[in-house]
Each structure stands twice: as structure tokens, then as C-alpha cells.
């Protein structure tokens, strides 16, 4: 759906998602956040958690420590809204290409790779959760 927006609408939509960003609650994690949950190579200093729910779905949580990390917050909100509530095995298949589809040419190569690392981190947590049958 993101491809259909013109640049101005896309910016507005991404800001709307960034405004909806909710930080990880204290019941899941508190500062200082463990580096094991830090997204590697993301200059926005993002963290991600995946909580396994009783119905075998996952709930994703994020933190973005860089106050200027608006794109990271927008992506975190999109990932939460679209993937939370899905089975871990399905979330594990999420593809980094969504970053290009969502942001198009609005980002630099470096920022794009940092955002792709967020998607990869979500996928890795989901893969680990889908293997963990406990």
C-alpha cells in the first residue's frame, strides 16, 4: 500500500506512524536496556523485544533512544501494527525489502541499512521464538 502515496502523503503518513510510536513498557524492559536487544548498526539506537503470547502469537515492543530517530519510530510503529498478533513463524518471514517500499527514496543508504537491521532483528527474534516451543 505504501507505494501508492506521493512524497508529501508518504511523509505525512510516516509522521502519523511516528506519532503513534509507543515505547516498550517497564513490564517488558527498563533502562539501561540490555545490549542483547539492541538493533545492530542502527544509528537511532533502537531496541526490539518479542513477547510470546498464550495463543502462540508474538507481541513486538520497541525503544528508540535517539530523539531525532523519527524514521526508526515510524518503522517501529508500522512493524508493531502489522506484525504483532501474528504467529512467530509468519513474522520470521518478514523481508527487509519493506524498508524500500515504505520509505522509497526518502532515506540515505546508511539510514536504509539501519532500518533494515530493525526488520532483521524482528525476524531473528521471531525465528528464535518459533523454535522455542516452551
Amino acid at each position: 500500500m505504501f507505494q501508492m502515496f506521493d512524497p508529501a502523503d508518504r511523509t505525512g503518513m510516516l509522521l502519523s506512524y511516528a506519532d503513534q510510536f509507543k515505547e516498550v513498557p517497564p513490564s517488558i524492559a527498563t533502562r539501561p536496556f540490555p545490549t542483547s536487544h539492541q538493533v545492530p548498526q542502527c544509528e537511532s539506537d533502537a531496541y526490539v523485544w518479542a513477547q510470546k503470547m498464550p495463543d502462540d502469537t508474538l507481541k513486538l515492543y520497541f525503544a528508540v533512544e535517539n530523539p531525532s530517530g523519527v524514521s526508526a519510530k515510524a518503522l517501529a510503529a508500522i512493524l508493531d501494527k502489522t506484525l504483532s498478533g501474528q504467529p512467530a513463524s509468519e513474522i520470521a518471514t518478514v523481508n527487509c525489502d519493506i524498508v524500500e517500499k515504505i520509505f522509497r527514496q526518502n532515506i540515505s543508504m546508511g539510514k536504509g541499512m539501519g532500518l533494515m537491521s530493525m526488520v532483521q532483528a524482528v525476524s531473528a527474534l521471531a525465528k528464535a521464538a518459533s523454535k522455542d516451543k516452551s
Binding site: 511523509t11 510516516l14 509522521l15 548498526q41 531525532s68 530517530g69 523519527v70 524514521s71 527514496q105 540515505s108
Partner: protein, 288 residues
């Protein structure tokens, strides 16, 4: 609180303006505020009232080749933001003004010398609790006529760097010490943008860009401290030709600005090909 700019001993203090100055000129029709950020969404979350957005990727870079916009592209940009040759363009942005200095530098390629940088950038403005808004201003279009782009005084290409090496010219590597040493292929917390080799250009001095600023508010240090850093500690001479580089030319724009305008280096250029070019070229000399 930072020392007033005019008391810091800079060679060209007029190139830097304070947040107070900007606040006093918010409604000055002769001043155009330009915000340039790494995160292109940041402007839309709130910016200095009246500021326009100039995006380094879509507004300043050619969309096909790795190069900057043409004269026609610059004329179109300036006309869009309602600037004339007499307009004082004031740049500010995130990341302690990396992209503001980068945009300032690109404007110099087209000879728009009536340009300033707001000391401290977004961080300083926000720390002082000054107003931001989301209103996107619209200014009457102008018919800006630019000169042809003249890279030579400000920009170094790889062949210029080779020639510079032969002449034993001064080189400043402004990346992190780890990138300079080749133990890291990218700046901390950033992804590797495709350099195949780590290290630095032979003879380059390592002076990370951030040493030029006060970490609390991103403002530039006084000239005496900058002189100690660049000239005393690293033996760089203001009278010798100097080339600064980093990864893609954004951090080195910041250092280029400090050397040229704050310390008065007479001939300093920014090698925007930087490590993403040098670290990928076949057969070039590299030191670790």
C-alpha cells in the same frame, strides 16, 4: 553557555550565527532559514518557524550519478525556496550540523557566499526551548540565476587527492579513530556502506570532527581551542593546501567549515568521494 561568537577569535565570524541572531531574524525577508538533516522526516516533526527543508539526498544530489545537482538544478532549488542572490541563507540541522555544513558547502560550489551556519544546530535550538512548528512556509518563487558550478576551490576529486599526496599536502581524516585505524569499516552504530578495505589515506592526520564542538550543545569551540587541536596538536598549517575527508563527505564538511571559516585555512577542500570511494578503489595506497 557558549561564549558569544564575536568573542571567540574566529577568522570569519560572520559565517556563524547564534540561535539568538536567528530568533531576531525570524521575520527578516532577507534571511532564509534552511534545515538539512540526516533523517529527512525530522523537519516535518517540527522546525524553526519559517525554515524551509533542503534534503541532501533529493535536493542536493544528482539522482542518477554520484554527483551534485547542476546549475539548472541549483537555480530551481533557490527559486523554489524563494531566495535571490541577496538572500542570506542560514543553515541548521541535526547531527550537530553535519548536513547543514554539507548543504552550506554545496551552496559554495555555486558561489552563494551569502550563507551562514547556525551555531549548535537543532540541538542548541531545542535545548534553549525555542519554538518549533510544523507549518511548511511558502515563499514567492524567484528567478535565481546561478553561476556554473565551480568545484575547484572547495571540492577535491580522487585525482586531486593523488596529486595532493604527491605534493605531500595536508590531509585530515575526520572519522572515528577506529575507522581511521581500519579496525572498523563504519562509524560506531552505523552500517557499513560498502568499503572493501579499512584504514586511511597515507599521511592523513586523524582529527575526529566532534573534537571541534562542545558536546553539550554542539556549538563550535573558540578559535584558540581549535587552533590547539588542528595546528598545535596535529601540526596542520593554515597556509598549506588541505583536504578533509570522512565516509561520504558529510562529517568532513563540518571540519571543512571549521578550518576555512573559523581558523582561516586559506586553501581547504572537501573530498566527498571520501572513504566509500578510496576504500573501494583498486590499487590505491592505504595505511593502517
Amino acid at each position: 553557555m557558549a561564549t558569544p561568537i564575536e568573542q571567540r577569535g574566529y577568522a570569519h565570524p560572520e559565517a556563524l550565527v547564534s540561535t539568538d541572531w536567528v530568533e531576531q531574524h525570524l521575520n527578516d525577508p532577507g534571511v532564509r532559514l534552511v534545515e538539512s538533516n540526516e533523517d529527512t522526516l525530522l523537519y516535518s516533526t517540527g522546525h524553526i518557524p519559517g525554515a524551509v527543508h533542503v534534503d541532501w539526498t533529493s535536493d542536493l544530489n544528482d539522482q542518477l550519478r554520484r554527483d551534485y545537482i547542476t546549475r539548472e538544478g541549483f537555480e530551481s532549488l533557490m527559486s523554489r525556496i524563494g531566495a535571490t542572490k541577496d538572500t542570506t541563507v542560514v543553515f541548521y540541522g541535526d547531527k550537530n550540523n553535519w548536513w547543514a555544513c554539507y548543504a552550506f558547502w554545496v551552496f559554495q560550489l555555486f558561489g552563494h557566499t551569502n550563507a551562514r551556519v547556525m551555531d549548535g544546530g537543532r540541538v542548541a535550538w531545542q535545548k534553549e526551548n525555542r519554538a518549533l512548528n510544523r507549518d511548511v512556509p511558502s515563499y514567492p518563487k524567484t528567478q535565481y540565476k546561478a553561476s556554473d558550478r565551480n568545484d575547484a576551490p572547495h571540492r577535491a576529486y580522487r585525482d586531486d587527492v593523488f596529486a595532493h599526496l604527491k605534493k605531500q599536502g595536508q590531509l585530515v581524516d575526520v572519522r572515528s579513530p577506529e575507522e581511521y585505524a581500519g579496525t572498523r569499516m563504519h562509524m560506531p552504530d552505523y552500517p557499513n556502506e560498502g568499503a572493501l578495505r579499512g584504514g586511511h589515506i597515507p599521511t592523513a592526520k586523524s582529527v575526529p570532527w566532534a573534537k571541534a564542538i562542545n558536546p553539550d550543545d554542539g556549538t563550535f569551540k573558540p578559535a584558540a581551542e581549535l587552533r590547539k587541536l588542528y595546528c598545535d596538536d596535529n601540526k596542520l598549517s593554515p597556509g598549506k593546501e588541505t583536504i578533509a575527508y570522512c565516509r561520504i563527505g558529510e562529517r568532513s564538511s563540518h571540519t571543512w567549515f571549521a578550518l576555512k571559516y573559523l581558523l582561516g585555512f586559506e586553501n581547504v577542500r572537501n573530498y566527498d568521494g571520501s572513504w566509500t570511494e578510496w576504500g573501494n578503489m583498486v590499487g590505491v595506497p592505504i595505511e593502517k
